[in-house]
Structure formats: structure tokens, C-alpha cells
Amino acid sequence: MTVSFDPAAEASRATDAILRDTLHGAHRGVVVDSPPGAGKSTLVVRAALELAAAGRPLMVVAQTNAQVDDLVLRLAEKNPELPVGRLHSSDSDPYDKALDELPHVRKSAKAGDLAGLDVVVSTAAKWGHVKGVEPWRHAIVDEAYQMRSDALLAVAGLFERALFVGDPGQLDPFAIAEAEQWAGLAYDPSASAVTTLLAHNPGLPQHRLPVSWRLPASAAPLVSDAFYPYTPFRSGTGHGDRMLNFGVPSDGSGPDRVIDEAAASGWGLLELPARHTPRTDPEAVRAVALVVRRLLDRGGVATSERSPEPVPVTADRIAVGTAHRDQAAAVRGALASLGVVDVTVDTANRLQGREFDVTVVLHPLSGRPDATAFHLETGRLCVLASRHRHACIVVCRAGVSTLLDDHPSTDPVRLGVTVKFPDGWEANHAILARLAEHRVSWRP
């Protein structure tokens, strides 16, 4: 082990190299892989500010309106004087009202109105409709691994060179229509933008951010091993830097015991008896809700490097993650009936990029009779297992490891398609093995 590992120095070395390639490199593209919570947004903001400061106006491509608004707010926070354009759709309520407070942010549905501003930010979908403007010399493409190749095709004509930033471990983009006929082509429109970019430009410099500031020391090695085996990363904090304590002692129930286990070790598995259930398994949903209720009732406080004093773990610092929307809706209903409000409950897709102190996850394979490609998808589990700063509690029916063994992955291998490692099957086993060490069996 490298005793002298200094996370801040490592991270800033990586960032410097990225900015050097972006500002002064000879290549048309730079790719940055960023593990969960490694400061991707910070990097994007810094790169944008430095490019703008060097007198090189740029466009920024993000994937969702929420991401765009967030970026604009961060840019304005760092440099309130910077002229920023927010290109938005012509729908009603197209952007976050908070942008109206910012004097140097101009908002428009027409790219022409924003010409000449230092930074113009919008979604890939909106950029795809922009035509007849002078191309930008620079672009930053955020969440590039979640962008589809065909979306990049629609916007790539707008810039000469670009910095592509994203997390390769999160959910791959998907198509709702048949796309198999293009599998193996370098420009398969259903593949991710980075896959296509690198297939056509194999010589582009690729960087990665080596330190996760979000994940605690208890989680980073596991997430790194399970989902990023060839590009490992470290946590920015050490064991003991973060602590989770509760004012109210355990009442001995399953939820309380799993909370204590997770507070002590960073992980907790609340295992319900094996059973095949519908997707919205009422017992599991109820268990998730109870865990959240107890987390709040027991007055949790989090100690971390962010502040010298312990900070209360309030509802807005807790999230529940599920695989399906109906599961999220069921959990919301169960929480409401327990009087819990303001806890984020969403699917893995929508939790991408978010960060919380404690997450409670309904395991995607819990109670299922089969393991489909959807439920095995590596990215789904990776998102769910990497949103937390302190602890992650998984609620699951027993028997998932048998289920996995009964359903080895059977994805067809196609010519010309790079096989993704690790596959979801293997990653699921790795996570389960670790969770098993922190198991609390409970019969509700």
C-alpha cells in the first residue's frame, strides 16, 4: 500500500493534466473518466472558467435540464461576472427559476440571441436543433457516457474540439427500438457517445480522476473493485474521518439493527425471508419505509471532513433508490403513510449524479423469480451503491445469490462489440458477498 497517498495532490495532478490537454493539447478531443463523486462537476466548471478566461468562448452540452441548470448555477457561483447563456426549450417552465436571480445569465430559446457570450449551456436534445450558427472552437460534453452516439452526431458539427467528461460505470444509454442491426459498427447509434468517439479516434488522450470525495473509505474499495476493476480509485477520506451516530439507542428491531450495522461499517443488508413477490413487494417496501422512519426518529448526526461539528442527518440527506418507477411510487406511498416527507425516492436512472448521506436501496433482484438483463445491468447497481457519503442500507429478500447462479448472463457476443467488464452478474456477486458480512435477518 502506498502510505504516502495524498488524495488532494493526486486529484490536482490529474486535473492539471486534463486542463493542460484541454487548453494546450494538439488533439481534437480529451476524454475524462470519472468515478462516482470524484469531482466531475467541479472539473467541468473549472475547465469552462479557464477556457473562458483564456478568451475562448465555449458551448457546454449536458444531458438533462436539471444538469444544465445546476452547471449554470455553479458557474455563476464561481464567477458571478461571467456572461453565461442558458439555451432552453420553448416549453413552459423550461429552466430553474433560480437562474432569474443571476444578472449575468442570459436565457433564450434561440441560439442566435446568445451569440458572443463566454459560455453557452444547454441539453444535447436542444443543441441538436441548433442550425446555422458559427461553430464554437471549444465544447465540453458532460455525462458523455450517458449520451448516445446519435445525439453526439447531431451536435458534433457545432464545435471543433471538445472535452468529454463522464462516468463509465453508470447506466449505459438505451434505445426503445430495435438497434441490433448496427451492433459492432463503430458508429452504432445506440452505443454511448464515448464508445463511438474512441472507436473513430483511438489516439485521443484519456484521463481519469483518481479520488472519490463522496464515497467513504468503507465503500470506495468495494465500488472500485466491483465496477472499475481496471481503473481503480481511492476515497478522499480515510477510515474514521466520517462517522454516523444516533441519539436514540436501538430498540432491537430489524431496522434499528441494520441501521447500527451500517453506521458502524458503511454497509447494511436487511434480509427478509426468501419469497417470490410482485415488483412492489409490500413487505420489502414497508421495510424500506421503516428503515427511513427510524433513521429520522433516532436523530442521526454525521461527522465528516466538511465541518468540525456533527451535522444532523435530515430527510433531505437521505435517499431511497429502486430499479422501477412503480417501486419508487410504492415506497413514496409507504413513507407518506409513516409521515415521512422530503426524502428523495427515485429510480437508479434519476439518481445518477446525486449525492446523499445515507441511502436505502431496494435491491433490484429482491423477490424476483428471474434475473433479466435489465436487473443485472452493471450500471444500475453501481448507481445505487455509490450515492452515499456515509452509509448504504440494502433491503432484499434472501436467495439472490442462488438466483444469480441460476441465471448466468447470456448476452449474445457480437462481432466488433467490446465486451464490457465486469458484467452485471459478476458485479452483483461481488456486492452481495460484501453485503453478506453486514447482514441482519429480519422477519417483519
Binding site: 441538436g128 452516439s149 458534433a156 447509434p189 468517439l197
Partner: protein
Amino acid sequence: MSLIDNLARLEATAGGRARPRATVRHRHLSERPLVFVPLVTAGEAGAPLGALIGTERTSPRLLTVPQPRDRDLRFAFLSRLAEILLPYVESYEGDVEAAERTEADAETGKRVKVEVELCADAPQLIVPSRAGVEFVRLLGRSMRFRRTAEQDPDAPYPAPPRVPLLGRWLTHFGERSRVPGSALLLAMTDLLSRHWATGQSSLEEQHLGALLAWIEAPEGTSGAEAALRAELARGADGQLLCPPAGPATDPAFDNQLLAPAIERYDRARTALAAASDGVEADGLLAALAAAERDIDALVESRTRPTWDAVWRGLDALCTLPEAPHAVDRWRGDRWSFTGHRDRVAAGEPPQPRVDDAVTAANKLGTREREQARLDAQEALDDPLVMAGRRLAGEAFAGVVTDVVMAYSEGRSPRPRPLVTVRTGDRPHLDAGVKVYRSLEGKPQAAQFVAYDADADADSDDVGGGGRLVVLRVLDKMGRGKEAEPGSVPEVGDRLCWTLFEHEQRGGPRLPEPEDTPWTHGGPPEGAGPLGERSDAVTSEDIL
């Protein structure tokens, strides 16, 4: 698969008979479809053995290849196929109506409306199963790059005159069938399983005979048993009573009947070739003709049951009235047909072996929009499909209990009435979510405001009160200060609101292939309308 489909499947399993999945027919069916029942030879990809084809139920044309490995005979088969299929396709080319299309103006680059022809109807090809669709694609692929003697006088093995054109059309049919909701080329098993649920897995439903057995089972009988019989029952001779729908044949048929018949044919041909005088040749020719007739009879015996099954499937489908939106989608098929007609007429080269980056992205975008459109239209056309969406929380139906007139803020206030709907459904309504209802065929949008607090107490009581959903109606109320009559829901109206949009927006306009950006490898080699190259002939093409 939606909850309502699972229920239908369970009911079918319990009752032994198919259960409806739809109350209307969601695909347009032509008045004169061309039914095509092909068979292939085992062991060689794309070697046709024979086919039944035609538009008349009682008089299909039988085509056979007595020796499937003989390429001359195969070309003869394809040539006869072209003689039947192409006149059928071309019979739809002449009858046109005027239509408008937006195109980029050649000089200014602006989008302008142009008057163009649109074929009034289009051909429709029906094959028994999905494997048949694949075979149509394969046939298209194997023919479209062929060169006739006229196109290339030096070709060592020129194709018969119309064969490359047939390949282009079959390729077009095969490619179009990948667009969700399209109906130029349909597989009967897909059509039937869209409209009926059985107790079988989707793989088992690819057996047309078994699927029909579930659907056609009379009251009081077990379709499940009939389906098992259709799949497995063999006669005293060891042959399946219900031959598979193909294009693959049953191995027992291949080994016991077909192989000996082909061998007899080969022997007769060899003997004829070795004949030394005319009298002997006459006799041997008769023997060859008899051997050929034997093979014809065998192929017909294996295709005719499937042929009849396809028509019985059409009968079953025609008991359902056509869904209102199916005609809209058929219009898309007519555009597709007209477009290919024009490309052929303009002398454009055949479809390339692989799509370029821009074409692939355009196709995927179109398919995704069509899929979303299909999902929305099927739900709007069919209460049974909508029930599935309602159970999934993607729509809700209810009675209007209250309407309060309200207005938007701003200089010229517009009507934004608040409508309260009582529903027993449980839609996934987050704050600010938009919902849509159909108002005279057009979608009217509203925004979810809140659940009415009065109903919160019994919000779990689905059977009784249900929930009160408060919506703010946003559009389709005219341009005036007051809403136009009939445009605002009234108390007592029973409405169905969807969380999905009814119409699809167009996707981004992609660059032309010759402007493919560096991220996607730059312009393809030989890009441009004239530079496309077909495959070079390799030694494997003329084995």
C-alpha cells in the same frame, strides 16, 4: 408486458383458450395482401426449397427448386418469384394522390412545402412467422447486388433480368418491418399474438399452428391440448400432422421424404444428360418430370397447411374492427412505399450493405419515435390497452367533479381552468407533471396541481371514493379571453388523462452523410448520391 396482459395470459392458461389482448385491430390489413409461405433447405443459408405465394386464398402459386443446391434452378425460382411479386408491387405504383412534403430547398436551404405524389395504397406482404421476415431480408440481401447481363455484360453468372430489382424490394420490405407499427411486411404470428394472449411463451407463439389452435379452440374445448397436438402429433408415417410454418422444415420430412425425392430427381437428371438418342431421352425426360412433380407435391403438402393457417389468421383478425389510428400509420407505409418507388425510378443504386452513421442514426430515431407513437395510439384506440397503461400508473380515468374558472397571470390573462377529477386509478403524478386527454382527436394538455386534501383521508380506498386529482388545463381553449365552448371539461364528464404525450416531436436534424463529423469518422468513403458502391463480387459469390 403489462399487468393486464399477464392477467390475460393467466386466464388463457387457466381456461385453455386464448383471451383477447385488444378490442380493435391495431394493424391495417390490405384488401389484397400477398401471402408468402417460403421453405428453405436445411444446411445451406438462404437456399430456397419452394414457396406458396399469391393473393387468392383458393389458388396459390407453387414454386419449387427440385435441387436446391443447383444455382441455375435457384435463379429460375427467384426469377419466377419476381414474375409474381414485382407485378403485384407495381400494381400499386400507378394510383397516386397529391400530397405535400417539406423539403430543404436546393438553393436557399430553407424548409419549403413541395407538392409530391403519394401512392393511394401500398402492397402488403404477409409471411407466417418472424423467421419468414428474416428470410425475406436474407433473400433481399442475396439478390440486390446481383448484376444482370444488361447491367454488366462481363458478369460471369448474370442474374435473370428482374432478380436484382426483386432483391431491392424485398430489402425495402424487410427494413420497413423494423419500424414499429408498420404494415408493409407482417408476420402472422406477431399479428395474432398482438391481439390474443395464450398460455404459451413468446417463443412457442412463433409456431403458427399452435397459436391458431389456442385462438380457434371452440368453447368447451382445450386450445392448449390442440396446440400440443399441432406441435407434436405425428401420423403413422412418422411425419408431423401439422408441418411447421417454416421456412425451416421438419428433419423427419427432410430425411424420410425430401432427401429420397431429391435423389430420384438427381438420378433422373444424370440419366437424361447421359442419354444417347432421342427416343431414350424422351423416356428419361418423362422420368425427370415425374421426379419433379413428386418434389412439387411434397413441397405443396408442407406449405399448404401453413398457407391455409395464414388465411385463417386473417379471418380471425378481420373479426376485429380496424383501430382508428391504424390508417394514419398505414399512411406512413404508403410514404415509405412511394419513396422507394421513386428511388428505383430515379435509377439510384441498391441499398448499401451497411448503413452509414447518419442513416443509422436517422433510422433509429425514426423507430423510437414510431414506437412511442404506436404505444400512445394503441392506448388511445383501445380501452383494453389503456387499462394496462392505467394499471401501470401512466394514465387515469375518472369523472369530473368540479370545474373552477381561473386565469393566467400577465398582461392578457388566458383561461387556465382548474378541473377536479375523481379517479380510482393510481397514476404516478409528481408535482408539475403534464397530462393529456384527447379532445376531438387532438391532445389537450393539463398540469397536475395537487391531490384534493378532502380526499386524502380515504385515498387508499380505491373501490369507494378514490382520489381527487386537481388539474390545470393549459391549452386548446381558443385564442380569446374566454375558453371556447366545449373546450373545457364539464362536471360529470368521464375523461381519460394520460401521462404520456399523444403525438411525437421530430428529432434533431442530422447532418448530411457527406458532412459526417470527426467524432463519427468523417464522411464515409465514396459518400454522396452517386458514389455509393455495391459489393465487389468475390470468389464466394460464384462458388
